[in-house]
């Protein structure tokens, strides 16, 4: 069963993943990482693990396990 891993420290809140996620699973969180970016969070139950977020992310925030 796949799992979506978000390296919140790497996120710079550019918003690409949110824009292109086919299921609108992702959104900005209330909290900030150590760089003061409001990193992204996922409603993983709706995630279909298609990898689009990984594809468009300039900062390699996402990881999807087998």
């Amino acid at each position: 069963m796949s799992k979506l891993i978000i390296n919140t420290e790497s996120c710079k809140a550019c918003g690409y993943c949110i824009k292109f996620c086919p299921r609108q699973v992702l959104h900005f969180s209330e909290n900030m990482n150590s760089q003061s970016y409001t990193y992204v969070e996922a409603d993983e139950e709706n995630c279909i693990y298609c990898g689009t977020c990984y594809t468009v992310c300039p900062d390699m925030v996402f990881e999807i396990t087998e």
């Binding site: 550019c14 690409y16 298609c50 594809t55 300039p58 999807i64």
Partner: protein, 245 residues
């Protein structure tokens, strides 16, 4: 349908601006290096500009930093000494198409057995957003505050299509780092260029339009739209040479 995804080897967190296309290129590049088995046998000659930050994004950056505009010439020397090593240049539009225009076109003319990657963000990003020869007419930069005026500084330059006309150039393509489809297409272009060097020792040039939110003064999601709406008018995407294979 689930797809396993993991960051490619040798990459690490980097300091490129939020939404910058350079981070996307470096990830795609290292995915291709892993897939072609050359992650342990490559030398990146990175130009001067945002591409000089390549060190920041790689753990064991196998790179030689070039002087401004000189990457293709240095890479030709490196390749002479290391013919079995994958040697490519990683440059910006200012480095490859302005100060290094002669070096870029000469390497293409010679059909040097190297690969050139040009990240085109339509301005001199590293130094704070000055105009480049790829800046669009009317586009505001710190040195074209009233918007670029083609009567004074010419229209956007397209050396990629110049190089595409040289016999010795095996492959010339332009992609964009601004949508899932374009990013996946860009990876195909990168892979094809690298395979041409590995397999046939041929010269290839791949340009990738890249969002530059900081110096375009736009939100990242606006920047990637601006590429589709405006930049591609002067910089059409696609393969300009070597599509037959």
């Amino acid at each position: 349908m689930a797809v396993a995804k993991k960051r490619p080897t040798l990459t690490k967190d980097h300091g490129f601006c939020a939404g910058c296309g350079h981070g996307l290129f470096i990830r795609l590049l290292h995915e291709v290096l892993d897939e072609t088995g050359y992650a342990g046998n490559f030398i990146c000659v990175d130009g001067v500009g945002c591409s000089s930050n390549y060190f920041m994004a790689t753990t064991k950056g196998s790179a030689i930093e070039s002087h401004h505009g000189k990457a293709p010439t240095i890479a030709r020397g490196v390749k002479l000494a290391r013919p079995e090593t994958l040697v490519f240049t990683y440059q910006g539009d200012g480095d490859a198409y302005v100060i290094g225009l002669s070096e870029t076109l000469n390497a293409a003319h010679f059909g040097a057995p190297i690969t050139t990657f040009v990240i085109n963000n339509n301005n001199y990003g590293m130094t704070g957003g000055q105009m480049s020869w790829t800046t669009l007419p009317g586009q505001k930069t710190t040195t074209s505050p009233g918007g670029r005026n083609p009567e004074q500084t010419g229209l956007p330059i397209d050396p990629l299509q110049m190089a595409a006309r040289f016999d010795a150039v095996a492959y010339a393509a332009r992609g964009a780092l601004n949508s899932p489809r374009n990013i996946n297409m860009a990876k195909k272009y990168i892979r094809k260029a690298i395979e041409l060097q590995i397999r046939d020792g041929k010269y290839a040039i791949v340009e990738l339009l890249s969002p530059c939110p900081t110096d375009w003064n736009m939100a990242p999601v606006k920047a990637i739209e601006w590429i589709d709406q405006e930049v591609t008018k002067y910089y059409p995407l696609g393969e300009f040479k070597g599509t037959e294979e």
